[in-house]
């Protein structure tokens, strides 16, 4: 039960991190520094972006949750089980970032779900 909760924490914090960072980078716009000054300005814009910082925080939480669950659960279970992040991120991209998802992408995410279900069979 605890393992399941921790895997979900890894997955949701990872997906939230991806979505926040994507939203932050889209707000920042094209990153193409050509001079050291451009680079510094871009770094300043990125590091002062709230969505980007929230994303980094979520990814750090995901990493520490991953470390925690590895202290008792099998790696051969945890790594494939956390791949459900592909599904959560696609759902997040659709409903939060309002991206369009085609049928083939949904089919792929369903295949990932099926694979995770097989991995989770005791």
């Amino acid at each position: 039960m605890l393992t399941g909760i921790m895997v979900l924490l890894v997955v949701f914090s990872n997906a939230a991190g991806d979505v926040y960072i994507t939203r932050g980078m889209k707000k920042i716009g094209d990153v193409s520094a050509v001079s050291p000054l451009d680079f510094l300005n871009t770094a300043k814009r990125i590091l002062s972006n709230r969505d980007f910082l929230l994303g980094v925080f979520c990814l750090a939480m995901s990493f520490f949750s991953f470390l925690a669950v590895l202290s008792w659960a099998d790696l051969s279970f945890v790594v494939p089980a956390t791949s459900i992040v592909y599904v959560v991120t696609v759902v997040g991209a659709k409903f939060i970032l309002k991206e369009e998802i085609n049928r083939m992408r949904w089919a792929g995410t369903m295949l990932v779900c099926l694979g995770v279900a097989l991995v989770c069979i005791p």
Partner: protein, 148 residues
């Protein structure tokens, strides 16, 4: 050739990194001072373990190789190619950590790789015309550990 080399390094670094992290965390959990189960102190302890740093470094190598490959190769190729690491992770867990792996877990890992390949393929420019509606630029899934 360059793409194959960088992706191979990425996949191997991720699998070895995850294996080191798992070995280190199980070692910490088996210490008498942590016999009561998981606590936040274990994470503090983990920050002093060289295996954790080595594993984290390898995950950074994976991320750097992944980003480098994306700078010249298609995401629709790089994503499924690195997803093959799921199978390598299961193999390393079985071979180096001695974890028992049932046939259903192997099959599940193969299906996950197939699913990731389909997700990536759906983003190909030629599919964007055929598929409805236009595919989204989904690039976020899967950082180091679960993704990495």
């Amino acid at each position: 050739m360059k793409t194959a080399l960088v992706i191979s390094v990425a996949v191997i670094a991720q699998a070895v990194g995850n294996t080191l992290l798992s070995k280190a965390m199980k070692g910490i959990a088996s210490l008498p001072s942590h016999s009561d189960g998981f606590s936040l102190l274990m994470l503090v302890h983990a920050m002093q373990d060289p295996l954790i740093w080595a594993g984290t470094f390898l995950l950074l190598v994976f991320f750097a190789c992944f980003l480098s490959a994306l700078s010249w190769a298609d995401l629709s190729f790089v994503l499924p190619a690195t997803a093959s690491g799921y199978i390598l992770n299961v193999f390393f867990a079985n071979h180096f950590l001695g974890e028992p792996v049932a046939m259903s877990r192997w099959l599940g890992s193969v299906l996950i790789v197939g699913g990731v390949a389909l997700v990536a393929w759906s983003g190909r420019p030629d599919r964007a015309v055929a598929a409805e509606p236009a595919p989204a630029a989904h690039e976020g899934a899967g950082t180091g550990e679960a993704k990495c």
